[in-house]
Symmetry: C2
Subunit: 201 residues, 2 copies
DNA sequence: ATGATAGATGACCGTACGGTCAAGAAAATC
DNA sequence: GATTTTCTTGACCGTACGGTCATCTATCAT
């Protein structure tokens, strides 16, 4: 059973870096197999289709995120608004280190895939949406705690959280168009200026 | 010459809708030719490569924008901050009408292409970057006029402009992940809350 | 020891990809 | 009217795509 899971995860590992650094359509299964040292027939033993591989890749990236610096950023021990700063910082350093290693800014895999496939594959779109929704609630929790503490004035926490997530994705997109993670450094902190007021009753 | 330019623009027209509604890699030249009623050899008479077609498509979209509702939005006769409202509105109604016709939210072609190709093709990336830069300056002008008028407090107009553009792209991305243009309506207006202060001397 | 199951192999399927080319038709130039 | 240029045609190139399959080899429980 161990060898099996190892093959499977070698496939996923090979796919992760490629989907991230190029695109879904531009990476072929043959290439992934070659890189993972796996036969194509073996690939289809583990994944019914390319889309299923993408699902697994998204899951792994989401895990990396949730257990990596996102967990650190949204540490309940930190003051709520500092968590947001921390997340921006972490995203900046992550993209920067990717560029140092890889020579290019690769951006956010979830954003990349969303814009590429979400008009063509509702199942992948739903999966990506779920991840964004999860991220939104992290922001929302932080905002609500900040309001409860009196650190910030009351606001529509859910919409503001969504706006912040959108802003983060947008900044990463723009930075990718410049191939320059420094844009994250310059624009990132402004995320805290975003506010959507509560609807008047 | 007329027939020739007509063929060329039929090719571009067929490519525009397809690149917008799917992706660059997912649309083949054969399909574009079939739809434009053109032979493949004829295609390569007008475009040296698929990338050159993409360049032309980007140019046409940029023209549509610049001469369409962006020109209306950034009308110097409008109060500067209202121009930004107008742009958000226009983006919302545009995406909404696309969805009504097409059944899906297609998002921003420039954002879509940026995330798909900018790690793979520096020439396309440069082209897209130039369009974002142009858009940034529209925001910047509006902001500077608003500051001059005293409508808003002084700020770093260039960085704030860039932040606003990023936010717009991010909101469109998130809306696409939900296949719901209404998100633009809910989140869009918050663009005016974004602020990046001037660096202290 | 045996039979079932899980995994690996590599040839193979049809189709589509971006791109090329020689030849012919149509238009513009002289 | 002849020549040159622009445009069109349709067959063709090699390669890669996602996916299938029969066969073989481990691994496992009984």
């Amino acid at each position: 059973m161990n060898i099996a899971t190892d093959t499977r995860s070698r496939i996923i590992a090979a796919a992760k870096t490629r989907f991230h650094s190029r695109s879904y359509a531009n990476v072929g299964i043959q290439e992934i197999c070659d890189n993972a040292g796996v036969q194509k027939g073996s690939f289809y033993h583990f994944f019914p289709s390319k889309r299923d591989l993408a699902m697994a890749v998204i899951d792994e990236f989401a895990d990396d995120w949730a257990n990596g610096f996102v967990a650190e950023a949204f540490d309940p021990a930190l003051p709520p608004m500092e968590r947001i700063d921390y997340l921006i910082d972490a995203a900046y350093f992550w993209q920067k280190s990717i560029k140092e290693v890889h020579g290019r800014m690769l951006g956010c895999i979830f954003g990349n895939l969303t814009l590429e496939v979400s008009t063509q594959d509702d199942i992948l779109r739903a999966k990506l949406l779920a991840i964004f929704t999860q991220a939104k609630f992290r922001f929302k929790d932080a905002l609500e705690q900040a309001v409860a503490e009196g650190t910030i004035a009351p606001l529509d926490s859910e919409l503001t959280a969504e706006a912040m997530l959108a802003y983060l994705e947008g900044v990463i997109l723009l930075a990718k168009s410049q191939n320059d993670p420094e844009l994250l450094y310059r624009l990132g902190p402004a995320i805290k200026t975003l506010r959507i007021e509560l609807k008047r009753a």
